[in-house]
């Protein structure tokens, strides 16, 4: 058995202490990078932008404070404080300045910020006025696109406010040849240029920028070598002194040169990973196939007796901890969409090599061990599954799923490889895919995928069909007609498609505006030098240097849209028990329902702020009456009764997620209203648009901006997450729900789909639980599902399910010798299950 030895390696006690240190305090915002980049930019005005970027990067790396945290074996931190973060004024800064006083107290991802840091940032910010990517992007966008964004049809906030990220560099190349090797490659390319070449100016500037960046990284590692040596001299503990001397030796050699040991490879990997996140603020910078590029170093050291399995595991565990040391502050709205301080550094194990052989190895299993040892959100750990995946590998992965940590996510090679090939990726490159960020597949080290390009709320265009394109008094969408003109369902559906096409076009406009702004203002030579074919083309990634270029904005709301359109079709057109205008009245009046407190408070605040901005003075009583007006449904009782009946009629209809052939076939068609039009658009880097179907966590905040919808969803409540059924509407268990999802066309959503399932840990109990779980994943993937992840729910969730049973109708729990839907159980039995969970399963 090839993998026996790397399973269940014990966790080193060091790891727990590293984690405790990391999480001792609230993360903190630091000003050093912002101050340094401003200093550098002031000195390089008038120079080519790509050189200015390289010089700024070098200036930052020369002066950024460095630190080695207690007991670390792998070193390199981009902030003094654990889990601290730097800021990136070249992308945007106004939002942070506006949120200085609330960023520490906000509900999603708070950060501490000292008065000193605020003062430093206030000092540098004026320099950036008019110089940021976000300002340039806004200037490039069409008026209609700006209006659509303002009215929450879609949001492009991610890349508007931040760097792009969302790539995997060639870690293997740095491990093999070091930055000396890459500098040599750039020099060779530079020497091959002729000063009279048409593009000599841009090419030579880019290649010089690469060389400056690589040298900056080598010098930065040298600073760590010096620091480690100094610390060793002052260290009283002999063991730690040895460790520090080893660290010093490592940093003196890598990433300057190729790694000669597994330990050096780990340190080299880490410098690459963390410094990419100093160069820009893009997230989802994904380590990708760590098991593939690390295993040769592990095998070599193991065979030569240079390393033990235990120490190799400890080093991998240290990397897992370090991946949680990196952090990023986002604006308050984005923080809700990406809640959980996540940097989405996706790391994947298993799958095939480029020749189609199974590539699972010892390090693949050690990645699973590390995830079990560290139990933190980073890395976003994924596994690739194909028909030839070793069963024991999937069983071991299932053990991680069972812990409830929400990892790993499972990906289906059998869908993703052909899907990428349909976008022009070669067979070998497609077989070598990894996942970026949440769920986005790409050919690593060759792709600029722009994978997270927007959130597109598929419910908002439907709202505009009901209002002939008008939102809050503004003509935001197309005039698709008055309701009485929709004499057939086809006409109604066509109006929806017309609104969709219109907004998709505007989404493309907005994304491309941002794309060009990044190329003009923030080309990134350091990341580019590790992605093919930037050196060859003499262009940064942002200017189209990669072999493959995509833009992948994600749509969400498939489940709600399917149920909504089917409700319209069935009730209005087939059964004729409801008129469209009646439905509109019911939607406008939120089916006669009152708003929940939180929503009412939010809306009250919005209204009050608007009135104050208009020059009105408001008393406490005024605000109270606004609150009453928004929270209470003031429709006459007779109308309310009718609205309630309408909602009941809707609720009785068959819903997506129950393995119903007709409904699911319709869902497939509804998804096409988003995925198909996108395929025809191009981006400025010479690539195409490709759709993703997933909302990250934006289904909640963007749902809060969406009124009641014809699927019976109440106003401002969450939209279904991913491609799964709307919460509580799948009542036939996990296989039925998975079958519905599998009936969507996952191949066309080549930017990724996301299917979340909820389980109670007991459903995975024992060896037979693990076996059934693996069979469930396999069975879904046999039907060409793309991705699956599991929420193995806790006691807290079960408590919440008791309070809000409507949200948990599909939650499966193991009762006593069999499984059942939790909410169908009696209160006393529910309590019983919760108390049994307390005992850690049964």
């Amino acid at each position: 058995m090839p993998y026996t030895y790397t399973k269940n390696i014990e966790k080193s006690p060091r790891i727990g202490r590293l984690i405790d240190h990391l999480y001792a305090k609230m993360p903190e915002i630091e000003a050093d990078r912002a101050v340094l980049i401003t200093e550098s930019y002031k000195q390089t005005e008038g120079q080519p932008i790509v050189l200015r970027r390289a010089r700024a990067f070098a200036h930052i790396l020369e002066n950024l404070p460095i630190t080695i945290r207690p007991e670390e074996l792998i070193v390199g931190s981009n902030s003094k404080a654990p889990r601290g973060c730097q800021v990136f004024p070249e992308y945007s800064y106004e939002w942070l300045e506006a949120e200085f006083d609330t960023v520490a107290t906000r509900s999603a991802d708070p950060f501490y910020i000292s008065e000193e840091t605020k003062a430093k940032l206030r000092e540098v910010y004026p320099y950036w006025k008019g110089k940021t990517t976000s300002e340039l992007a806004t200037a490039y966008m069409s008026h209609e696109a700006l209006t659509a964004i303002e009215h929450n049809i879609f949001t492009v906030g991610n890349y508007f406010y931040n760097g792009i990220g969302h790539f995997t560099v060639d870690y293997g190349k740095v491990l093999a040849v070091g930055y000396k090797g890459i500098i040599a490659e750039a020099l060779e390319a530079l020497n091959a240029l002729d000063v009279a070449d048409a593009d000599y100016a841009s090419r030579s500037a880019f290649l010089q920028a690469v060389i400056i960046s690589c040298e900056a990284v080598i010098n930065y590692a040298d600073r760590y070598a010096t620091l480690a040596k100094q610390m060793a001299e002052n260290e009283l503990d002999a063991n730690r002194r040895e460790e520090l001397l080893k660290i010093a030796a490592n940093c003196a050699r890598v990433p300057r040169y190729g790694a000669e040991s597994f330990y050096e490879a780990c340190q080299s990997f880490w410098f690459v990973q963390m410094l990419l996140q100093v160069e820009s603020s893009g997230h989802s910078i994904s380590p990708g196939r760590f098991d593939q590029y690390m295993n040769p170093y592990f095998e070599k050291d193991l065979n030569s007796g240079k390393i033990t399995r235990e120490f190799a595991q400890e080093l991998i565990d240290c990397i897992w901890v370090k991946l949680n040391d990196l952090n990023k502050v986002r604006d308050a709205a984005s923080a809700e969409g990406f809640a959980g301080y996540s940097l989405f550094q996706n790391l994947i194990a298993g799958g095939q090599d480029k020749y189609g052989n199974d590539a699972t190895n010892d390090v693949s299993f050690m990645c699973i061990n590390a995830t079990l040892h560290v139990m933190l959100p980073m890395p976003s750990f994924s596994v690739r599954v194909w028909n030839g995946s070793p069963h024991e590998f999937l069983l071991r992965a299932a053990e991680v799923t069972r812990t409830g940590v929400g990892l790993p996510a499972y990906y289906n090679d059998e869908v993703i490889i052909p899907s990428l090939m349909s976008r022009g990726v070669t067979l070998e490159d497609a077989r070598n895919y990894n996942i970026i960020g949440c769920v986005e597949p790409q050919a690593p080290a060759k792709t600029d995928g722009w994978h997270d390009a927007a959130f597109f709320n598929m419910l908002r265009p439907l709202e505009l069909v009901f209002s002939n394109g008008v939102d809050r008094g503004v003509q935001v969408g197309l005039r698709t007609g008055e309701l009485h003109e929709f004499t057939t369902f086809e006409k109604f559906y066509d109006a929806y498609k017309a609104q969709m096409n219109y907004f998709i076009k505007l989404l493309v406009n907005a994304d491309n505006a941002i794309d060009i702004a990044h190329a003009r203002r923030c080309p990134l030579p350091y990341q580019s030098c590790m992605i093919e074919d930037c050196i060859g083309r003499g262009k940064s990634l942002q200017e189209g240097g990669a072999v493959y270029n995509f833009t992948g904005p994600q749509g969400f709301g498939i489940a709600n849209m399917t149920d909504a359109l089917l409700a319209v079709k069935t009730l209005v057109y087939d059964k004729k028990v409801l008129k469209l205008c009646e439905l509109k009245a019911a939607l406008d009046n939120n089916f006669g329902l009152d708003l929940d407190n939180a929503t009412a408070e939010r809306l009250t605040k919005t209204v009050a702020q608007k009135l104050v901005a208009d020059g009105k003075t408001l008393t406490a009583d005024d605000i109270k009456s606004i609150y009453l007006a928004v929270s209470k449904n003031n429709a006459p009782d007779a109308d309310k009764k009718r609205y309630g009946e309408i909602r009941e009629m809707i609720e009785d209809l068959p819903k997506y997620g129950n393995d119903l052939t007709d409904v699911d076939a319709f869902a497939r068609d509804v998804a096409y209203t988003y995925t198909k039009p996108l395929e025809s658009y191009k981006n400025p880097r010479g690539g195409m648009f490709q759709a993703g179907l997933y909302p990250v966590s934006a289904n909640v905040p963007l749902g809060a901006q969406t009124g009641a919808t014809p699927d019976g969803r109440a106003a401002y409540t969450p939209i279904a997450d991913g491609v799964g059924p709307a919460a509580g509407r799948d009542i036939k268990g996990p296989t039925a729900s998975a079958n519905s999802v599998a009936k969507l066309d996952h191949f066309i959503a080549s930017n990724g789909t996301l299917f979340n399932m909820k389980f109670h840990p007991s459903a995975l109990a024992g060896q037979s639980g693990l076996e059934s779980f693996v069979a469930l994943v396999r069975g879904f993937f046999d039907q060409k599902g793309m991705h699956m992840q599991f929420n193995v729910v806790s006691r807290e969730t079960l408590r919440d399910a008791q309070k809000n049973p409507e949200k948990y109708k599909s939650l499966v729990v193991r009762v006593a010798g069999y499984s059942a839907l939790f909410t169908t159980l009696s209160r006393s039995l529910q309590d019983d299950i919760i108390s049994r969970t307390e005992q850690g399963g049964f």
């Binding site: 039925a736 639980g769 059934s772 069979a775 069975g779 046999d782 010798g817 069999y818 049964f842």
Partner: protein, 262 residues
């Protein structure tokens, strides 16, 4: 063939993704009507063959519907990918499927013809001839042996056990695989002596080496109220884990493979 698919029967539920009633991921078809009236029964709506109304979460729900083999088969086949990957299939439960032999055998036959693994959960209470009709189409028989003492059996289930024990021998010698299941019910059979008797009987059955001990639970309590019936088990507590482990050891002494729970 088409005759087979049009046979009608009465069921009250189909539950997918069951992992505890036979190997792998299974779809359980619950047939309506049973000859026993076990006091602890967690599916009281299964007992009467008549279609009933049960109040569930405050709403009346019809229990029981008449279906054809074809309709059931269609739903069963929807989870074929999961059977293929897990070695699972269909399990007929109840109620008691032996009481609807035409429908149940037709359904099992149709499943076998479609390559689906089959199992039955049964009380074993039927004429031998009826059971013989089932066996060619069954991969696994999960058969309850609730008590060796016929008097006590009758007191708690309304039926003596003579025929059940006879049929156990028949099934053991002719079925592909048989597993004995024992609901462990406090006040009825939760003593070492009673479990030992059942284990001894099981160990003597030809080709049988596996027994499942299913601890009592009061999951069905609310259903009795929903049907307007009295629940006789009152506040009876489930057997403790410690007791279950002792009973497991008891059965193991007879050379059986013992599993707690399904």
């Amino acid at each position: 063939m088409s005759d087979n698919l049009s046979v009608r029967g009465r069921i009250f539920d189909i539950q997918r993704f069951s992992t505890h009633d036979g190997p792998g991921i299974r779809t359980i078809v619950f047939l309506k009507g049973c000859a026993l009236r076990c006091r602890w029964c967690c599916n009281p709506e299964s007992q009467s063959y008549e279609i009933e109304t049960m109040i569930q979460n405050g709403k009346p729900k019809t229990m029981g519907r008449d279906v054809t083999v074809e309709e059931v088969l269609k739903e069963v086949l929807q989870d074929r990918p999961y059977y293929n990957r897990s070695g699972g299939g269909v399990t007929l439960s109840g109620g008691e499927s032996l009481l609807q032999p035409d429908f149940a055998v037709a359904l099992l036959k149709a499943c076998k013809e479609n390559g689906v693994n089959t199992a039955i959960e049964t009380t074993g209470i039927a004429h031998a001839d009826v059971i013989k009709r089932f066996l060619p189409y069954l991969d696994t028989v999960l058969m309850d042996i609730k008590h060796i003492n016929s008097e006590k059996h009758k007191e708690f289930t309304n039926q003596p056990n003579d025929r059940i024990l006879e049929n156990a021998k028949l099934i053991a010698s002719e079925a592909s695989k048989m597993i004995v299941r024992v609901p462990v019910i406090p006040t009825f059979n939760d003593t070492v002596a009673e479990i030992a008797e059942i284990a001894a009987f099981t160990a003597q059955l030809p080709n049988v080496d596996e027994i499942h001990l299913l601890p009592y639970h009061n999951m069905g309590r609310d259903k009795y109220a929903g049907l307007g019936r009295e629940y006789f088990m009152g506040d009876l507590k489930p057997p403790t884990n410690e007791l279950m482990l002792i009973l497991k050891q008891t059965a193991e002494q007879f050379g059986l493979k013992v599993q707690i729970g399904g």
